[in-house]
Symmetry: C2
């Protein structure tokens, strides 16, 4: 299927969290129906979707039935088991495609892929043994950070190594999982590019946003980011190179460190990205709609920014700020429908419109 | 219940069309669940709602069960049978309240109410007999328009009287329904104010939009409207007077004719309004969220406009413009998920962002 899907078609979404929820709303806005596949009960996305399948990624029958009921499959997270993807792909196209998932599911593969494109990354080394870790710390230097190659997000599955004294504990923290040591990058700030590539190969990028993290989780994204015109151009060209090389279809988040030696790629995420939430109140076509347009084969929006925005995540107890946020002017609140407040849990976000972009 | 509802509460919405659909999405964005009550199968709102009840407004048991499952009840259209409202109101608060429905369900009552506030309306007369119609045309003059007092919308239930020769046919067209003759108003253009009043009595208005109709149906709304500063102020004060008098809770659409003798109230609609769709891409808090905020007792947004917008309805075959709309920059497309295209049927709308408002 390479023809555009007509309105009324059904988009299958793997994952029922807030990204799936906002994808589902964007799909509805374009006249599509959505079907969420999610192991957990009462997923946030289920409240705004036409159909929900509650089943495990091990459930071959449920996966097959789901695939047969939808016209195209996309996802809100990259750590989908390969066995599930094999079953799904036998029935319907998965967009973004398998190559993007293969590359981004493994931090080592991802770094090697980026290097193969001539892009700069942090220094890194594959770590399977304590000996390898000791050797790598000696080469790359400390501070450095040890991460599991797979299944890490929001700072989970990571251990900092400030000096050689931390090596043994860091290695133990990985619990035997294949890992990667990443060297320290001396950066002034982090930005991300939300880039999209359509089914016909057209690429569109939003203006880069500047990210600030707190406790290893994204706290704010500010648009426009502090970047020179040249850096802005570099960021967009670099993102386009990644998407084109992967023959990517959909929205990707590309995190970049800004350094005196240029832009260094931190990581890529083959999906809509938290640092792109500002587009909901900054652009005519937000990242969620852009992703849907790509996966159904429709023309992309051009990424034009109409408003300057500061996006702020509401994490855990930040939800208590809601009454104040509602009272302030120019705030667009987005809550995810999660009832249980837990530390580190993303409960919602607020887009603070700063002024009109000219 | 006069306390604000917490996120996670359920909002019952009477009517499952596009207005209910966009209300449902706005409610979800604030963390609420929605439950749609709609007689027709597969309502557009059902695709983005948690629960749907498919039942008639005659079905007392279904109404009672629906009311018991929600925390507050609102609606997307004003022509809800009184008997249904009686059943619902015995269980849960209905917002906006009964008085607004009583006034706006009957064109005669509405005109009398507006006059009682000292507001200007078109000349009018109640018509129950052919004799009354002949007398009224003699007094008010032609051209004039004969309308059923109840259940009219988008030009339905109306007959134009260009001269006394049209009287008999126009009267016959009403098929015995109690009617109202409305005189011609010499206006330069029509504007509407989307106004909101919260549970604590605070009022907020959006900038007036300028409406252009085609075949009796709204075609475009342009913001800002052509109005002097004084007219703008008049429009807002006038709308606030209506909402305050009704002790209204929610969003109301107030249509105004701009004339050399000042602003004349055309009609009011006790709900979100087609001429307020521009707020989705012009404001941090759109009319749908504003309505939800009001009915759950949350603080209102202040109506601040960030972008100038031209909203254009996609009616019937206008849906064929979608490919072109998608290719143009700065267009925000909103489709309603209706599969059957019929002449006069509202299929969607596009908000064309003109430039940033300063």
């Amino acid at each position: 299927m390479t023809n555009p899907l007509p309105p009324g078609a059904t988009i299958g979404i793997l994952g029922g969290g807030q990204l799936g929820r906002m994808l589902s709303v964007a799909a509805a806005r374009l006249g599509f129906q959505t079907h969420i596949f999610e192991p957990g009960a009462n997923p946030p996305a289920g409240e705004v979707a036409r159909h929900v399948t509650t089943a495990s990624y091990d459930d071959a029958e449920a996966l097959k039935t789901f695939a047969e009921q939808v016209d195209v499959i996309t996802y809100e997270f990259e750590n989908i088991p390969t066995s599930a993807l094999d079953i799904l792909e036998a029935h319907r196209p998965i967009r973004p495609g398998r190559e993007a998932l293969r590359v981004s599911q493994d931090r080592l593969t991802e770094k090697q892929f980026l290097q193969s494109l001539g892009l700069k990354t942090a220094p890194f080394a594959a770590i399977d043994t304590l000996d390898e870790l000791e050797e790598a710390v000696a080469t790359i230097g400390a501070p450095a950070i040890l991460k599991t190659r797979r299944f890490g997000y929001d700072g989970k599955g990571q251990a900092r190594i400030k000096s050689s004294e931390d090596i043994a504990q860091a290695f133990a923290d990985m619990a035997g999982a294949p890992s990667i040591l990443e060297g320290f990058v001396d950066f002034s700030h982090e930005v991300s590019v939300i880039a999209a590539r359509g089914l016909t190969g057209d690429v569109a990028c939003y203006d880069p946003g500047e990210n600030v993290h707190r406790d290893g989780i994204l706290h704010t994204t500010t648009v426009p980011a502090k970047l020179s015109a040249g850096q802005r151009m570099d960021a967009v060209l670099l993102a386009a190179r990644i998407l084109n090389e992967l023959q990517y279809v959909g929205v990707m988040g590309v995190e970049l460190f800004v350094t005196s030696q240029g832009l260094i790629v931190n990581e890529i995420a083959p999906r809509v990205h938290n640092s792109g939430h500002w587009t909901q109140n900054g652009c005519a076509v937000d990242q969620f709609e852009q992703h849907i347009r790509a996966v159904v084969g429709w023309p992309l929006g051009d990424g034009q920014r109409h408003n300057d925005v500061v996006m702020e995540n509401l994490i855990g107890d930040d939800i208590n700020h809601v009454p104040q946020i509602l009272r302030e002017s120019n705030n667009a609140l987005h809550l995810y429908g999660k009832n249980d407040v837990k530390p580190g849990r993303k409960m919602g976000h607020v887009n603070r419109i700063q002024k009109s972009a000219s």
